[in-house]
Amino acid sequence: MLNTLVFVGSAYALFLFAVAFAAERAAMRGQARWLRSPIVYTLSLSIYCTAWTFYGAVGSAVRSGFEYLTIYLGPSLVLIGWWWILRKLVRIGRSQRITSVADLISSRYGKSNLLAVGVTILAVVGTTPYIALQLQSVTLSFEVFGVGDIATGEEQGHTALWVAAGLALFTVIFGTRNLDANERHNGVVMAIAVEAVVKLAALLAVGVFVVWGLSGGVSGTLEKIDASSLGQWQIDGGRWVGLMMLSAAAFLCLPRIFQVLVVENENETHLRTASWAFPLYLGLMSLFVVPIAVIGLEMLPEGSNPDLFVLTVPLSQGRDGLAVLSFLGGFSSATSMVIVAAIALSTMVSNHVVMPLWLRYAGGGAKVSGDVRGVVLLARRLSIIGVVMLGYLYYRLSGGGAALASIGLVSFAGLAQILPAMLGGIFWRGASRLGALVGLTLGFGCWGYTLFLPSFGAGVFLPESWSTVGPFGIGWLRPHALFGIDAIDPLLHAVFWSLALNTGGFVLASLASFPGPLERLQGAQFVNVFEHSAAPRSWTGRVAQAEDLMIMAQRILGARDAQRLFEREARRQGMAGTLPAPTPNFLETLERELAGSVGAATAHAMVGQIVGGMSVSVEDLMAVADETAQLMEYSARLEAQSQELARTAAQLREANAKLTRLSVQKDAFLSQISHELRTPMTSIRAFSEILRDTTGLAPEDQHKYSSIIHDEAIRLTRLLDDLLDLSVLENGQVNLNLREGLLSDVLDRAVAAAAADEHGARLRISRDPAAEQVWLNTDLDRLSQVFINLVANARKYCDAARPALEIRVHSSDRLVIDFVDNGTGISPEAQDVIFEKFSRVSDQKAGGAGLGLAICRQIVTRLGGEISYLKGQGGAAFRVVLPADIAMAAE
């Protein structure tokens, strides 16, 4: 039988997976409309009904009569009477992208991480008994089927451990498929809705069986109820009101209810359907509680656990099929609660505890290398396992013997401590962070001392003497009789004192403290959520590094989603590319998107880290921010202008320097020309005056002086020719007269011309006729002019006793002609300047104006070649290199 149950349970789990998977697929294909109908929303709220309701309500009815109804009436009251609170919560949740109760409180009170951590701890501790309750009920239900055996505590522990492990695994697989906690878990919600139907159907089936199968119809059942002890129960008015208010408060504060009610809410209008449909669901769930309790008491042996009547009644009648259905109903109730509670709690733990710690200690903050997604998912999974295991621990420590309803109420009372801060936060702008902290601390502490710790049983955590004589003998500090009030029920006592201290502390501390700007801003956003649809503008006009934001967003949201978000914003801003300007609006949007994954406070911290500074501006400061942005734009424009000016100035300076250089060159050139022209003219004038004024000059002197005048006139003419030639060449106005001819012919002409030009000096010229058999296609006259210059220079300046010039020709890929003489050569300093105008090869007077080599260089350059001085050849050596296309190899 046990094996069958394990099989049925596993098959049922697989079925839920299939439902979740199909729902997610449908949502991805965009067919999520029917998945997100108001009915599904209402059914998902049914996670309020856990194993406590399924099994424990009957037990509660047996022990306390109709008191179990209070647990149903509380939420109904909220949905019917306080729907406007719900609507406000839902609106705030959507506009602020709230991910959990802790996130809500933290966000409201200035995105305080301390508060978030506090509420998270409270929620985890408060939910622990609740999860233990589920483990206990599933474990018990398994045992019921373990026919006849009285399970020992040890065996119970094993079963519970297996159940806990199974639930943890189930939840990890179910709940951490999506990272964005604010994104709707379509699959999970659908599975919960299915489970809601299963548990309702199971309970109704058992009820119908009991009423019509065992009691003979409605009238028979009513008679049995009247006859039983239940009919005689006196209603304790105070406890009724207390429990009703407690369950109403818990309904607002339970992390899992908040998850489905606010976080998973698709549409505010769904609340309208839920406000009547959910009370109806609760009514159906409670319809057969009393009949089952009465029949169970009547038919089952004395001492049977009333918490299991739903299972044991069908079993005792041999209705195994109905019993299995009932088991599935209980299983559904337990699993749905654990799944959603664990998802909600793990979101809180990872967003408010793990991520801030990781961000702080992982070094480098949000920009640290590695994928934050991985860290978040791991944190969530470990949190789920941790939460479920805490429940198991509670179960083992508390012994697993307590009534289900009493465990559930401990949990309710703990979580209700959030209520003052929550309601105060959304209705009272004066509520401050300090108030919330003080209230929560007092309420949580009081609850822990008066209810939670004693719930483990006397002597486990608190010494037994404390409850009898009080700690250290202080009577008014006894856990169940604070301040000497010991006449009332322990639960009511704890609820009264914890909520009273909580609310009192909250109000007084809020009045006494002054909220910071972000708190006031968030307060206005929360309290007046219906007037403000715009998000709070927390970021001033700081210039953030859009790229850094992008990198961070990619790590958290995933590359594709982040890019889509940035591109959309860039388009909206009318910018090209994928990086939008980090406007306050965009930072706010980004922060909200990130908050969906890591929580508001953490997202604020991450964006703050990148934007550089945690300071915020309230709406009043927006004008200042605008001005700052304008100023920044203005200064950026000024900067651009000044850069432009600097560029222009630099250009002007450069042009000026060039002009100055040119002017200096021109002066030097004019001065040189003047000198070169005046020198021959001086001789001409002097001798012409001598010839004119001197009488009786000897005929040979007359001839000599006339010759000098003649020579100087020719020198002047040549100088003018050279100057004109150089000017034409330098200005590029020269027309090349291309002809074909042999290199040897060109050299012959040059040697002959140079020899004719000069008188006296003897220069031996050696050549290599074979190598000179190269056809040229170039301006042969100009090339000849170069060669004449080089040969004439050797003739003029070679200072060897027996001057000799060697003309060497090599043709490889280019044609190389070297002119090397056997003189002392040109000094290294002079080598650098010989090709410049007016630079003479030697100090020796030889009549040149220093233009020859400058002209040679101009000509060779025009012909496409180059001329250079060859170093280390002994004498003066010049090399003329001509490009290959001028030279054609000899045939």
């Binding site: 001065s671 003047s674 000198h675 005046r678 020198t679 003219m681 001086t682 001789s683 001409i684 004038r685 002097a686 001798f687 005056e689 001598i690 004024d693 001197t694 000098i708 020579d711 100087e712 100090d843 020796q844 007077k845």
Partner: protein, 124 residues
């Protein structure tokens, strides 16, 4: 005893022309064409007048003049400077170096002679 003129100039034709003009007037002329040895020659036998070119191989006329003015024996020696670079800047440089008279090439033979006579008359 005839007055002695020393000419330091590197253009052979100009040397010939000036020598002829001054000899015709009965002056004795000693010529040198290299700037580097000019000061040594002057120290060896100080003339009555120095005619100095500016652009000389080895050492410029200005440098030769500056050195002369620093030595006691030649500090008052009349110096006529001839230059083919006739810009006002050149004249200023010559005056700063301590020149007695300055003429640009080409010059009129008559004017040159008058300058020579005037300079030599001052000292005698």
């Amino acid at each position: 005893m005839s007055k002695r003129v020393m000419l330091i100039e590197d253009e052979p034709n100009i040397i010939e022309a000036i020598s002829f003009i001054l000899s015709r007037e009965g002056l004795s002329v000693e010529t040198h064409s290299d700037g580097t040895t000019a000061n040594d020659k002057l120290r060896a036998s100080t003339p009555d007048l120095l005619i100095l070119d500016v652009m000389l191989p080895g050492k410029s006329g200005y440098d030769i003049l500056r050195e002369l003015r620093e030595e006691a024996g030649t500090a008052d020696l009349p110096v006529l400077m001839l230059t083919a670079r006739g810009q006002s800047r050149d004249r200023e440089m010559a005056e700063r170096a301590g020149v007695s008279a300055f003429m640009t090439k080409p010059f009129s033979n008559t004017e040159m002679l008058e300058q020579v006579r005037a300079l030599m008359a001052e000292t005698s």
